[in-house]
């Protein structure tokens, strides 16, 4: 779950990480008071989840209330297109109005986890203010990575190693220590998958401040962060994915017309690969998950049918913890609620296969056992459909 900048900053504040003074504005009428409180000069920042906001004009400096109002009017309630929004633009529903600050230096700081060492990793670079990919390419040496053993937690020497990489004297060290400890604590306690402060700025008084903030919370940990679930903003292009996840399904929309429903992520990916390999285009990735529940099949069909481009459905189930009879039952129930107007090819094998086939027979459907044969049939069916239909 991605957080908006102001939501991330709200968490930073909770953890005593310095941030600029600022206010969230969701309508133009609130602007006046807020800009006055900041003394006229301010920064107007569009609150969207997509990256690349700065280059797309989503961050504006304003010297007067009039300028701020112009910027706000320009942004609020309109879609903002960045290189990450894939041509559609993301609606700006809120602005963050912040004080303008002068600083000595822009740094990059983040905490995320490293799959190889299976530890949190903190990264600091003296080259802040640009995308981390750019930093990584421009100057690999400029990024200092420090791994933290999860059993012993963050230690003084981890912070020291980061700070020493800046080549600065001791004067900023105390503020830096506090900053890093607080961000790390936030990262762990709030189950963040990533906290990125870019830029982290060094102020003239040798303290540090988070000028921008990106944060991703581990979806698997949301059960213990009800407060974050409440403030969740789902990106426009992920609406369906999030809805699906709430129902225990993994769904990713794609551009093709062959919908698929598979149990297991690996098999689902491999199924997409096979569809493509046979000259067709998958309409989605859809994993109905490990645990067995007929209801999931019903939900899955619902999601698939929301996509008007879908021409044929391919169901591929290899039962393990998922039982074939549960899948067949789910399918049966789904058909009792809605008729299926497009062709469907099914492959069903594994745990409780016999029971599953018996249920399908009852409603006049049959299923392949072998994947290769099933895909061959799928290809026939798809090729039999006239384009433009």
């Amino acid at each position: 779950m991605k957080l908006l900048e102001y939501q991330a900053k709200h968490l930073l504040k909770e953890y005593h990480v310095p941030i600029p003074e600022g206010f969230v504005v969701k309508g133009l009428s609130e602007l006046n008071k807020v800009v006055q409180q900041l003394g006229g000069r301010c920064v107007v920042k569009a609150q969207i989840l997509a990256g690349g906001r700065g280059k797309a004009g989503g961050v504006r400096l304003a010297g007067t209330l009039r300028e701020a109002a112009a910027a706000a009017e320009d942004l609020l309630g309109k879609p903002l297109e960045t290189y990450q929004t894939a041509g559609q633009g993301e609606m700006v529903n809120a602005l963050l109005i912040e004080e303008q600050l002068s600083f000595l230096k822009e740094l990059y700081f983040s905490v995320t986890y490293d799959r190889e060492t299976q530890t949190p990793v903190m990264m600091l670079s003296a080259e802040g203010g640009v995308e981390i990919e750019e930093i990584a390419v421009k100057k690999t040496d400029s990024i200092r990575k420090v791994h933290v053993n999860p059993l012993t937690g963050i230690q003084e020497h981890h912070i020291r190693e980061l700070y020493l990489s800046l080549g600065r004297g001791k004067e900023g060290y105390r503020a830096f220590t506090e900053l890093v400890r607080n961000i790390y604590r936030l990262y762990m306690e709030r189950d963040a998958a990533m906290v990125e402060i870019n830029p982290l700025v060094l102020l003239p008084d040798d303290t540090f401040l988070a000028l921008d903030a990106k944060m991703i919370i581990d979806d698997n940990a949301l059960f213990r962060h009800g407060d974050l679930v409440e403030i969740r903003k789902v990106p426009d292009d992920e609406q369906q994915e999030v809805e699906a996840r709430e129902k225990g399904l993994s769904f990713v929309k794609l551009d093709g017309d062959v919908a698929c429903m598979v149990n297991g992520a690996g098999l689902a990916m491999a199924t997409m690969d096979m569809i493509k390999h046979n000259g067709m285009e998958p309409a989605n990735f859809l994993d109905i998950g490990g645990s067995s529940n007929p209801q999931k099949v019903i939900e899955a069909l619902d999601i698939i049918m929301k996509n008007p481009r879908v021409k044929v459905i391919f169901i591929n189930v290899f039962g393990g913890i998922t039982r074939c009879d549960d899948v067949a039952n789910g399918f049966k129930k789904a058909l009792s609620r809605r008729s299926l107007e497009i062709p469907m090819v099914m492959r069903l094998t594994g745990t409780n296969e016999k029971e599953g086939r018996r249920i399908l027979e009852e409603i006049g459907y049959e299923a392949f056992t072998d994947l290769k044969e099933a895909v061959a049939r799928l290809k026939e069916v798809r090729n039999g459909i006239r384009e433009g239909n």
Partner: protein, 288 residues
Amino acid sequence: MAIFVNRETKVIVQGITGRDGSFHTGKMLEYGTKIVGGVTPFKGGLEVEGVPVFNTVAEAVSRTGADTSIIYIPPAFAAGSVIEAVEAGIKNIVCITEGIPVTDMMTVAHYVRSKGARLFGPNCPGIITPGETKIGIMPGHIFSRGPVGVISRSGTLTYEVVHNLSSAGLGQSTVIGIGGDPIIGTKFVDCLEAFKEDSETKAVVLIGEIGGSDEEMAADYIKKHFSKPVAVFIAGKTAPKGKRMGHAGAIIHAGKGTAESKVALFREAGAVVVDLPVDIAAAVKAFF
């Protein structure tokens, strides 16, 4: 010979009274697995499929002498269950649970290793030595005993490949589902090390997917230390970047962990990489 588990392995089921736990206890017993006990707090004294239920793992271990445990516990409590198992002296832990938070798993992975125990998973189908023991959720009938070791990050895709192998008359020594999460206990390289020492295993099938760098490390290990033939399939060639493909671990970040780069490294290491999972058997056949 096989690796990690065999017919002597004494298994307890954590979460034995749940829907999945009780169902698969039956299936495992049917397969011949030595399920000696189960654990569900506050349900000690009951029986599931004729197996005694205990309140704690410590009690189950002291009463049954179990050395291995399989976990069907909801994600919020699963990490704690692994720690409970290790504290009780369990040496091999198979964690089926999907959806455990990453912060929990980082701690657990380091802890398990520091105690000399072994964790399979989480978010994995388990481990099977065909004809001897099945500790997991895989459909037992598709497996057959033979010279092929199988390691996979996926569950159902493993079944697909094993089905393919068995249908072609290629049996398996041991099949391990290592799990689809970003943080897992036993990785490809750990399994390759064990298969290297196993005289029964003549060839290895490795089923990888996009995301992470475990495949890259495996390719490096094969290149440097592994001389048995290896056939590889990597799932997710058609997956878009930046999207999580079901498995929490299957996500391509900043061009890293793509199928292309993994395929290239395995080929460089001398492994045979196939385009489709249904082509695995043919590739392995060619080894013999």
